[in-house]
């Protein structure tokens, strides 16, 4: 069987295929090597890293809602230094794009994390998580505001040597402005969306279902809204867009690509099926063959008139 060309050129980085595992849903990568060969992935984004370890939120941290998952993990993690010592060496020989999700509680911290990572090899790009709604109260974060996003992106761009993907939050009415300001500030790509600020209540006890009260909604429930945002943003910027939100099948991937995404990330689906991404990639290959598509990348931004 011949294979179709699934590869994607993001300009700063070439991917074997458009499917990247999303940050926070793929652990540090190693959790999944028990299920399949990580080299099959277009790439993967590791869990968000701050300069120091973070304890995370108290449980319950997860609640399931209709076709969705609300999480308030609170970005628990081992911090960038331990990551570089203990985990990165296990990832460095992989033949797939290893992307690091860079977090910060203030601008300088983003830059410090990126600078630390600059000292190590085997990383394809940094994904700036300017959009985590869990950390600050009420979900306020730099990604809600074009100026704050501009400041962080230009600061990190200046102080590090690797390509930057700025990951946007959907929790703003100004997503297009935020995307444009990230582009202006030198971001090499945009990824969207992060989770939607959400909550769930137990009507019997009148208590919130998450200890943090608020959390971020992901999964199939968010797909139509996320797709709309990817479509709107892709029309306004020239740098590549990486789309995500509720992808579980190859058809979802195709929709995002048609809407304007060059590549996609798959998140919550990894929990439901640890082999979800290899299955999606196989399906994409079959799709291209049955539809005589030579290069999958040619689908990007090809929404046809009704």
């Amino acid at each position: 069987m011949t294979h179709s060309d699934l590869s994607i050129d993001l300009g700063f980085c070439r991917l074997k295929n458009p499917v990247i595992a999303a940050s926070g849903t793929f652990g540090y990568g190693t959790e999944f090597s028990r299920f399949f060969d990580l080299n099959r992935l277009g790439g993967f984004v590791v869990k968000g890293l701050y300069s120091t370890p973070r304890p995370g939120n108290p449980p319950p941290r997860l609640v399931e809602t209709a076709s969705g998952l609300i999480n308030a993990i609170g970005l628990q993690g081992i911090g960038v230094k331990r990551f570089c010592q203990e985990i990165l060496p296990q990832l460095q020989d992989l033949d797939t794009a290893v992307i690091i999700n860079v977090c910060g509680s203030h601008e300088e911290e983003y830059a410090a994390v990126a600078e630390h990572l600059d000292g190590f090899e085997g990383i394809a790009a940094y994904e700036l998580n300017v959009s985590c709604p869990n950390v600050s109260t009420g979900g306020s974060c730099p990604a809600l505001d074009p100026e704050a996003t501009h400041r962080i992106v230009s600061l990190v761009k200046k102080s590090c040597r690797r390509p930057l993907i700025t990951k946007l939050s959907p929790n703003t009415g100004k997503i297009i402005e935020v995307a444009k300001s990230a582009e202006e500030a030198g971001s090499d790509a945009i990824s969207l969306v992060n989770t939607f600020l959400a909550m769930a209540i137990d009507a019997k006890t009148r208590r919130p279902k998450l200890a943090n009260v608020l959390g971020g909604l992901s999964g199939p429930a968010i797909k139509p809204i996320a797709l709309r945002m990817v479509y709107q943003v892709a029309q306004e910027i020239r740098i590549p867009v990486i789309g995500m939100g509720g992808i579980t099948t190859s058809e979802d991937v195709l929709e995002y690509m048609i809407a304007g995404a060059s590549a996609v990330e798959v998140g919550t689906a990894n929990f439901v099926d640890p082999e979800a991404i290899p299955l999606i990639i196989d399906e994409l290959d079959v799709y291209c063959q049955t539809h005589n598509i030579e290069r999958l990348a040619s689908l990007t931004g090809t929404l046809a008139p009704l």
């Binding site: 449980p59 076709s67 628990q76 929990f271 640890p274």
Partner: protein
């Protein structure tokens, strides 16, 4: 086949997906169900206290897999024992013999079966559906020459559907119900304390509601009996990727939120930090 289980390292990291585990048979008592699932490889690798993540449907609602302890293993099949408490378990209860289930397992770290002493004795304490892993555990302990006494508590007699199974297998069984409809009237932990006087134990193994486990951690200290407790938490993945399933634990002198799906769900009582109510 049991010996293969026993001589394997307890904390083996093997786990796999079996998308086509066939339901061989089904049993039902009120809200409680047993499904026997044919899955040779997962069965041969299972250790008591480990669990499965089960997909209850094919659509996105319910979305996540549901965690269930491995209740029993026999030949090529393993059993889960569950109580219907919500949408996912209700859907699972509608499955029939011959249907196939997508399962992941065996997951987590189970009970430590090594007990000191020449004729070691273990007290196995199960509250409600928490009895699930204790059958597999009792069968494995028996093969190690450990004599297991079962303490099985529930709100009412309807919550004790497995009592006949344990009796049929020949285990000494003590039951309690909060309403006094069967056995000792009161909490199973009080029944245990009463019985420990005549029937001392070298180890406590338990699974059940937090209140029961917390009380057992105290009993473990008071009576100097090491205890291994199986915790529950809402799980996003079951294999260490989401960091959703945390509990306060003391590990290497550090106290923090630890994932119970990887390091547990079974922990020595002294590792578990109980939050204030």
């Amino acid at each position: 086949m049991y010996s293969a289980i026993l001589f394997r390292t307890i904390f083996g990291k093997t786990m796999r997906k079996d998308p086509q585990a066939r339901i061989l048979h089904k049993q039902n008592w009120g809200d409680y169900f047993i499904l026997a699932l044919e899955s040779p490889r997962i069965t041969s690798e299972a250790h008591p206290g480990q669990f499965l993540m089960v997909r209850v449907g094919e659509t996105s609602f319910p979305l996540l897999r549901r965690p269930f302890s491995i209740h029993a293993v026999q030949d090529n099949a393993l059993e889960i024992f569950f109580q219907t408490t919500g949408l996912g378990t209700r859907q699972l209860s509608l499955k029939q013999e011959g249907d196939r289930l997508d399962i992941l397992g065996p997951l987590g770290r189970g009970f430590n079966l090594d007990i000191e002493g020449s004729t070691p004795k273990a007290a196995l304490v199960g509250g409600g559906r928490g009895i699930a892993p204790l059958y597999f555990l009792s069968e494995s302990l028996r093969l190690q020459g450990v004599s297991a006494t079962i303490y099985y508590g529930g709100r009412t007699v309807e919550d004790l559907p497995l009592r006949k199974k344990f009796l049929a297998a020949g285990y000494p069984l003590h039951c309690s119900t909060e309403d006094g409809s069967y056995g000792f009237k009161g909490l199973i932990t009080d029944h245990l304390i009463q019985d420990l006087k005549q029937n001392p134990a070298d180890r406590i193994y338990a699974c059940g509601p937090d209140g029961m486990l917390k009380r057992l951690a105290e009993i473990s200290q008071e009576y100097s009996i090491p205890a291994e407790l199986s915790l529950e938490a809402i799980m996003g993945c079951g294999f260490g990727a989401c960091w959703g399933c945390v509990h306060r634990l003391k590990k290497d002198q550090e106290i923090g939120w630890q994932k119970i799906c990887e390091d547990g769900p079974v922990f020595p009582a002294e590792m578990i930090i109980w939050e204030k109510e």
